[in-house]
Amino acid sequence: MATDFWASSHNKRWIVDRATLKQARAEDLQYVHSPDHIDLLNIYFANLIGMLGKKLSLRQRVIATATVFFRRFYVKNLYCETDPFIVIAACCYVAAKAEESPVHIKNVVSESRLMFSQEGYGVKNFPSDNSKLAEMEFYLVSDLECDLVVFHPYRTLLTLCGRESACALDTEAGEVGVGIDSGPRYWGTGEGRLELEEGPLQTAWFIINDTYRSEICLLYPPHMIAIAAIYLTLVLNDKTREAIQAQGAPVPPPRRSSRTTSGSAHRKSAPAQQQDFVGFMAGLRVSLPTVAMIAQEILSLYTLWGRYSDTPPESGLGGNGAGEHSGGDDVVTPAFLTQLLLRMREARLADLAHPASGQPVAVNKRLERTQAAG
């Protein structure tokens, strides 16, 4: 299913507007001190999917698909009423099947248990029973309405940069190209080509990886995200970076991906290239304001991400004190976010049991589908 994005379920049913997203998170927002916490959870969960995916030896594309499944599921569900950790496992499990690299359900369960139970995450009681994951898979696929084909920006990136072949870069560089379908473009004139060196291409690739940590994949078509990634790669040469920094505006932090690229090569974009770039962008015949908006959103993701810390729990920060934070610019850790989620759940439960409005809340009606929470 590589060619026709416009006719796809992705385009027809799963590009949502901001109002829909806002609505989807509205109730979760009542249980956090700062709206940022929801965005930080978005980063956290994407990181977990990435890590679980790597434990299961899933390709980058499969991890990306799993993350999109996760985002789609939470267009329809609440963080505070579900168990995102089982959902994460189910997303990896289904994405592996949907992308033709199935893993055994037992492996998913045991790797998830192993990973989530680590001190740094503090998720207790991940079910050890295969059937729990299988059941979650069913709810996931139902809520996805069986739409399992996901388009990703990687292919547009490679096509635009004239690297349709899979072996454009060495595998060390994060499997660039591996598992990405080649094929005719589904938009634009097919004329635009950009000569991108390996370094910048890698940077753009990594920026695309990073976008999955936000809800960008739900808001924009993949080719627009790819163009925004190229745009960011090229405008953020050292000079512009300095200028931006001087103004105190957000800039991408040093690479946090596990796949750190070496040295400064990937920031190299000669002025001449920028000149070409203007013409290149114009020739794409896409909405440049939209590209700029996506780029802005990526930049704010990086700013927020700067507050997310994978540092081990012994640093103490946020280890247990989920309650004390008022939601400023504090650094948050995975353990903090797990605690935050548990507290959201508890608060939700309390609210449903003792409604502030005094109206009887139909707990049973709202929560027809029960869960043993592990």
Binding site: E137, V149, T370
Partner: protein, 372 residues
Amino acid sequence: MDAVERANADRQKKWVKDQKVGEGTYAVVYRGRELATGRKIAIKKIKVGQFKDGLDMSAVREVKYLRELHHPNVIELLDVFSSKTNLNLVLEFLDTDLEMIIKDRSLVFLPADIKSWMAMMFRGLEFCHRNFILHRDLKPNNLLIASDGQLKIADFGLARDAADPGYKMTCQVITRWYRPPELLFGCRYYSTAVDIWSVGCIFAELMLRTPYLPGESDMDQLKTIFRALGTPTEEEWPGHTKLPDYVSIGQFPRTPLRDLFTAATADTLNLLSKCIVYEPRKRISAKDALNHPYFFALPYPTHPSKLPKTIAQTTAAASRPLDEVDGNVDLNSGAGPGATAAGTAPPKKLKRKLSGHDTSRNIARKLDFTAA
């Protein structure tokens, strides 16, 4: 009921399930109809088992592709909904399949009929291949026929995306009689050409009214192919002796197709021969096949509505034997005329209430606050 459940229930309410009509490896198929129009449909209920090992890979492939593919010659997935612990696919109802038509000895096929079926087959396949999808299980049984005579490619349980060059795929696909020699030799890097071979076999079967290359085992399949088409030479199929499971089968001479297909025109045999070329890269593509002179020569393809029909098709209006009525699903009750009024609450049974006695559902999308 939350918004998600309501949306699902709304979808479910549109369809009425009647009796069971068949069963496959991972699904039970029921006849049904669209409540609003009475249009006949099929409901394919995917067995989820008791949530032991998760969804069958074939089921995943089938829903994945059918959700995306919309073409007159590909079976149409009209809707999906879930009920209790099942996924239900709503498909257009198809009266019969090409295998039943081929086997129905009372039917006479004219060359124009065969041309019509071949054109529809290639159109559906070209659409799949254009979208980089390999079907990998083409055979008469998987080519279903609608009441208006349209042929529909069905059963995407083995389908997959054409992989990047250099990405290994399993060679254990395609029912043996329709399996191309490269797969029999264990080739793990293959292309859309595997489906073309199958189409060639079906083409021949339509003319012969019996399977063209019915091998009795995988080894015998190769022998059967070579007996019919001659042992391939290195020139005809460069590199085939290097394939993983290559074995020397013996030397068989090539006999002209004309000897077997005595009544066929030159165009017919030319297209057939291009579908069953040994070298996969030289096999004709679905797109080129559609432009082959065969389709432009006389006789022109029969209009689908005029194609030979089985008794089952002509009497399709009459009700079928009631094999089994599904007792556990809540659809029938929702079908009554009383439920049609807009805005009325869904029938009780439609509510997916999780009461204490339903022990099979101990986790859910949502957390169980009632148990806390």
